[in-house]
Symmetry: C2
Subunit: 202 residues, 2 copies
DNA sequence: CCTGCTTTAGAATGATCGTTCTCCTACATC
DNA sequence: GATGTAGGAGAACGATCATTCTAAAGCAGG
């Protein structure tokens, strides 16, 4: 009977995820990962193929352990604008937990340093953006109802715009230590969505 | 009498800037810079202290040769919303020139991979964000006039929100090759600003 | 051609990278 | 306690990194 995995192995992915999250793929060395995860080099290489494979696994883990819980209020059945607000609150709470500068979004961070030919990575980033956009799209469609002011294409554009703004907010969270700035931007975005659902004229 | 600088030296900064812009500080090696700029290693080290000093010089150069011309319509005396629109058009035109994926914003790209203790770099990024925010703030103040619907603090929040959204849009430009997506987001942001200047209720 | 200076290509250096390997410890099962 | 195996510590390796150094080439003024 095979032995159970050691304790440190269980947290390997989560610790590696946090390390990559802080400063990005290229800045993190295998030595850093060994130190931060407490797992030996051989252990990392036997569980994953190498640094890049580990990073891809971290991107997937990020979806499961970070995005899914935080974004749940948006993806929940019958979620409305308050679901988006709850999502922002989750992100703000995470920012406040870190104290000082935030870490932004792992996907957004990766996006800013991805080479043109890293297709496997790019595909994961795109999936993330599409996931967020789809969630916002669903909520906006729900709020718009059958006879709301927004057309389907307007909803699509507004959903993507929301996703882009969220990325901008979390990118900036790496530069500020003031949660009030981020909260103001989140509130502004919520207000914008509400206004357009109410039929603000162009 | 000292000789004039060689031709390749004149473009050193611009070529280095483009190289850093594409993939970020850590991915670019000195060998890459030598190849892309056509200047010898010794030449780079004599004109600048080292890789990091060169990068800082590129951040400054970025302000002068990229941000200043593109952002000029916003910073111009008496600029209004159409100045912001012209700024977006400049960025969209730049995106279309590259063909395929965009390069985003050098500041935004750097922000996503900056270590917590890189204070000299962080200071430059903050200055950039403050510059954009100040430009939008000026335009919004102008458009709001003496008896507009927005208070001073609302203008400040809206200016920062605009800056954040712009960063999000240009971050996403690294993931898409479709200028229509970016234009839709830009148009949406303009519409949002106009609506709030018209006094959209919260 | 000679002299003085700038700029070049490229080797040398020491550090660090990702990756692999060996050796040894620690523990489950008998 | 003996045995088998998984995991950890860290050396070894070749590649590449930023940086420095050497030597030669290019060019201006005499």
């Amino acid at each position: 009977m095979p032995r159970a995995k050691s304790k440190s192995r269980e947290n390997l992915l989560d610790n590696a995820l946090n390390t990559f999250w802080k400063t990005g793929f290229h800045v993190v060395s295998m030595g850093d990962l060994v130190r931060e995860t407490g797992v030996s080099r051989a252990g990392i290489y036997s569980d994953f193929g190498g640094k890049e494979d580990l990073f891809h696994a971290c991107l997937d883990r990020y979806q499961d352990t970070v995005v899914t819980p935080a974004f749940a209020p948006v993806e929940a059945e019958g979620a409305g604008i308050e679901g988006i607000k709850a999502y922002f609150d989750n992100l703000l709470a995470r920012f406040e937990d870190t104290g000082g500068f935030g870490m932004g979004c792992l996907v957004g961070n990766t996006l800013s340093q991805i080479p043109e030919d890293a297709q496997e990575t790019r595909q994961r980033l795109r999936a993330h953006c599409d996931r967020l956009t789809a969630g916002f799209h669903k909520v906006l469609t729900y709020e718009n109802g059958d006879d709301g002011p927004l057309s389907v294409s307007e909803i699509a554009a507004l959903a993507r715009y929301t996703m882009l703004s969220v990325q901008g907010i979390w990118s900036y969270s790496r530069l500020t230590g003031d949660v009030a700035e981020l909260r103001a931007a989140s509130d502004m975005l919520i207000a914008v969505l509400k206004a357009r659902l109410r039929g603000a004229p162009d």
